[in-house]
Amino acid sequence: MSVSDTHRAIDAVWRIESARLIAGLARIVRDVGVAEDLAHDALVAALEQWPESGVPDNPGAWLMATAKHRAIDVLRRKERLERKHEELGRQLEARHEMAVPDLDAAIDDHVGDDLLRLVFISCHPVLSTEARVALTLRLLGGLTTEEIARAFLVPEPTVAQRIVRAKRTLSEARVPFEVPRGEELAARLSSVLEVIYLVFNEGYSATAGDDWMRPALCEDALRLGRILAELVPKEPEVHGLVALMEIQASRSAARIGPSGEPIRLFDQNRALWDQLLIHRGLAALERAEKLSGALGPYALQAAIAACHARALTPEETDWARIAALYDALAELAPSPVVELNRAVAVAMAFGPAAGLELVDTLMSEPSLEGYHLLPTVRGDLLARLGRFGEARAEFERAAALTRNSRERELLLERARACAGGPPLSDAQ
């Protein structure tokens, strides 16, 4: 094996082992930053030694053993320091001496619990959203600072700064390395889900010319979601989020055209949808449904995505069910965008007049001001009702609002078609 082969093998081992390694160490040293440094030291030792000695049979155990030795050094140093600084020397000494022989047991037990603690601390509310994302990808996803920077289109020093500051914040706030319990659990879990979905959407919004690291974020998010689903298998929303991501990812080959233009759901070639991911998404949704009577926001969105996934053609879509799911979503997580989607579903299920009635209630919504999809949808419904003059004005308004030049062309085309009477091709 050449040196570069060995380095690639070490990268792979790191990808597999780093989260568990950092999680195990963090429990002992009670500081995520120190734990990551220790794990990193072990990685550097591997990079120095493995090209000579070859990759050991159990590389994860090797890394752990190496990091553990350093952890013991750190604890001893800390102990000496504490002895010097504090008068309560004897008590502490007794505690630390007990701690060292227990190290093996401490690391080997409860790997899952450690990982879960690491998940929660990386997404802790004392951190900014950006910091949570960076820390999660770095500590749990095993991504390098450079990879994160490339994926999020920011300079590498910015990401490095974010991570350093995040670790300092956690340390200064003395955030305990533990799994939240009781009422706190739900809020903290939703922060974790939010971070994972944010990573997924960042990857999903990547376009053709982008660095491949961007779309790869979808896979990173899916992997994190799947890991979390096994760590907290009784939490329905985790399965809901996984289902949502699996089904959305199933469309990735169909949603971008040959010249990089986005293709709308109804125009996508459904033969390109990934049936394996759809199958996995539906299975995850079923797990969520079995765990709870009332679906949460992620599971509801997954259920809506599932309605589309089950339809072999756009015409087979179960719009009445989608409208009902949007009703439930609007109750749980009310937002004007959800309302607009609900209006579209209602129009598809019960006719354009019913949809228009809902859209009209959104016209004075300040947060939708400047949102091009509102006039687009309204224009579409008006055209279907034969009110072409009003429809044309809406399409023109939408065209002025969109930032996407291709979309602007399409909207202006529709406006022109309205001027000339009934449109030829866009009856949905």
Partner: protein
């Protein structure tokens, strides 16, 4: 990226001998580890080739050949589909698999094409063909339901 991980057959798998309980347990643990790591997409074991068939193509002619097939080493006894970051990561995971057969065994790792890999070859004409295939499938499904 995705890899399909192929377990090659041997005398025993071809004879339909099932793994013993110890191996089943170990294999179960291994698969669980893959699931917990978020990398396993699918995994299946295959019945012996005596229960399978081959369709041989020669120009426009098709000939059906029933199993079993003799070249045991080229047959597949099972597969995993995993999603990982690199070929090296796939290799690292496969090295952790318990020896799936008694004695000698071989597992082959192959990368799966993604839509993006087709690039220019995926021309509008091909796309068109695939679309009509999609319509056909949908129409068939409608007839069946």
């Amino acid at each position: 990226m995705r890899f399909i991980v192929l377990l090659k057959a041997d005398k025993n798998t071809e004879a339909g001998v099932l793994p013993d309980e110890k191996l089943l347990t170990e294999m179960g643990k291994y698969n669980e580890e893959l699931v917990k790591a978020g990398v396993l997409l699918a995994a299946e074991g295959l019945q012996p080739s005596s229960k399978g068939a081959r369709v041989r193509f020669s120009g426009k002619k098709r000939t059906v050949i029933d199993g079993p097939f003799i070249e045991t080493k080229e047959l597949i006894a099972g597969f995993w589909m995993i999603q990982v970051k690199s070929k090296e990561e796939a290799i690292e995971w496969v090295k952790r698999c318990p020896n799936p057969l008694e004695g000698e065994a071989e597992i082959e790792i192959r990368q799966v094409f993604e839509a993006a890999d087709f690039g220019e070859a995926f021309t509008p004409e091909l796309r068109e063909a695939e679309e009509s295939m999609g319509r056909q499938m949908a129409a068939n499904a409608k007839r069946q339901s």
